[in-house]
Subunit: 346 residues, 2 copies
Amino acid sequence: MYIVSTRTRKLKKVTIQDIAERLNISFSTVARALNDHPAISSATKKKVRDTAQKLHYQPNKLASSLRSGKTHVVGVMIPNLQVSFFSSVVHGIEKVLNAHNYNLLLFQSNESLHQEIKGIDTFMASRVDGIIASITKETSHFEHYLKVSKRNVPLVLFDRTLEGLDTPSVRIDDYKGGYLATAHLIRQGYTRIAHITAEQDLTIVTERLRGYKDALQAHQIAVSEKLILRGPFSAEFGKQSIASLLDQGIPFDGVFALEDFTALGAIQELQDRGIKVPDQVGVIGFANESFGTLVNPTLSTIDQQTIRMGEIAAELFLDQEGHSKRESIMLDPILIVRGSSLKIKL
Amino acid sequence: MYIVSTRTRKLKKVTIQDIAERLNISFSTVARALNDHPAISSATKKKVRDTAQKLHYQPNKLASSLRSGKTHVVGVMIPNLQVSFFSSVVHGIEKVLNAHNYNLLLFQSNESLHQEIKGIDTFMASRVDGIIASITKETSHFEHYLKVSKRNVPLVLFDRTLEGLDTPSVRIDDYKGGYLATAHLIRQGYTRIAHITAEQDLTIVTERLRGYKDALQAHQIAVSEKLILRGPFSAEFGKQSIASLLDQGIPFDGVFALEDFTALGAIQELQDRGIKVPDQVGVIGFANESFGTLVNPTLSTIDQQTIRMGEIAAELFLDQEGHSKRESIMLDPILIVRGSSLKIKL
DNA sequence: GTGAAAGCGCTAACAA
DNA sequence: TTGTTAGCGCTTTCAC
């Protein structure tokens, strides 16, 4: 991109023009040589590449994107990178896109609709070749996403999808996850199973709850609203829930928490009150956080295949680039049995 | 960016030209109006903005970047987004850059020098306005980073910096962290303190070790090589280290592990062997992982100010944009005292 | 306060 | 196999 003139010591930008002049050929020949065009002789290609290197030529993607209409950049919008679920998915997305020579423009919405709209706008202005997004909790309307589709920019949603927006998406089957977790506790011999869930009306919340209820009913266990606790997503609420059940004298011997931190909070409170996990109460979480193997007892959980989800999101984008639009994909959650729910020793 | 012709139903791109034609003014006036140029009357500005909206005009950053030489994009290179330390830092970087209307091009090196070079190359080709990076463990030479500086692209390194490369950077004072952790254990009355560390020759490893040794000596405690265990970064090695000390009958009553997962492994092994933490052995980790408040006992640790580190990295870049190059910054680690090292009840 | 014109560095259609 | 030419959609200098 630059050569240092010996006289001025100033940096000069190097373009295909400069290479062409050096070799007394036209700059379009240089362009073709650099792009490995089949019509160019290998002798010319070699000469061009050598001088390109000598002059420290650095191609300009802006110019080529402007002209060709392809940026090889995908916009990725997530609520928050600090949530390990999302950073894991982005990891998967980046891995696959990188391997296909796509780059990734990252934007955090921070659960703000306003930010989300700003991000989509930036993506469109940047002429990204596609957008992979997980919507905010606030997102109720989706005009900003419709704009994307209208302009024929491939759009893929993951985890949190949008009812009514017809676009490929990938998420895990939260219903099945809730069912798996609950059925596992039942098979272990627990019968009065509490569910610690959230107040929000998110699919991931309602579906896990639905799975929980269906698993109980499928095993002829009545659903009791007293055993369903709704609050914020937090370890603290896990503790509170257990405290509340115990203080009210509501009997229970199993806990399915909608995510691992909450489950861990629950275990702590149980242990603090002298109740043994898993002997007296079995606990299972959701998300397969990395600390699950390290706590005592180790935490049973449901794995969400986060990296796989990212990989598939990327593939769904690549599919659209290849004009073969795949359907939306539902990943199977994976039951991970560890100490916290293992009453029946194997 | 597009208007739908009623006859053909085909999408047509909208440029400032189209707006200009509609209003019978020159396209340069439109450009100025959209950029809020002071020389344009507010009446014209309003007209322009209104029609821009009506025609669904979407500015093209590629064109403006190509012309102006500014992309408002910063390349961020990290080893792996799955490591919560890095995703946290990137979160901080994105937050600050976003607020200054910079976007973030993300690249994972996966600890591979080859990938790292490819990423820097992509950044340069994309004409990013700056690069913020944490180098791979493999990175020994740094020609690819020198290229960046030579082309006057602001470069900021974080956490893992490069000896000999003169560029602003931010990292935490690992020496002080090691010292703090060790001195804390000593103050709590532990005197035979083991250090579980790594084999690698990384600054973060050697500096924490140096802090550990200096803290011991400052308190008139002899450093014993038998109490320094070197292995891979892992919870498993934490367990092994404890097992090895116990099996060899080497007495100890404190453990400083170079990171939280290792510390947790150590606690597990101690508990499995019936040794009480913190009553018999005090343990402290490093990194302030989110599970630290949830395990039993809660884990004492050293906070690395990850988000702050990201914010500062972003600020160091912004400083260079403003041509005021700040020095490198060393963040103070923060001692977080929790249950695992609290022999003296307060 | 607005317009005309040049050009950023490439790609690609058309010639030769 | 290579060269010519016309843009992509903006920013920016110089006019008036």
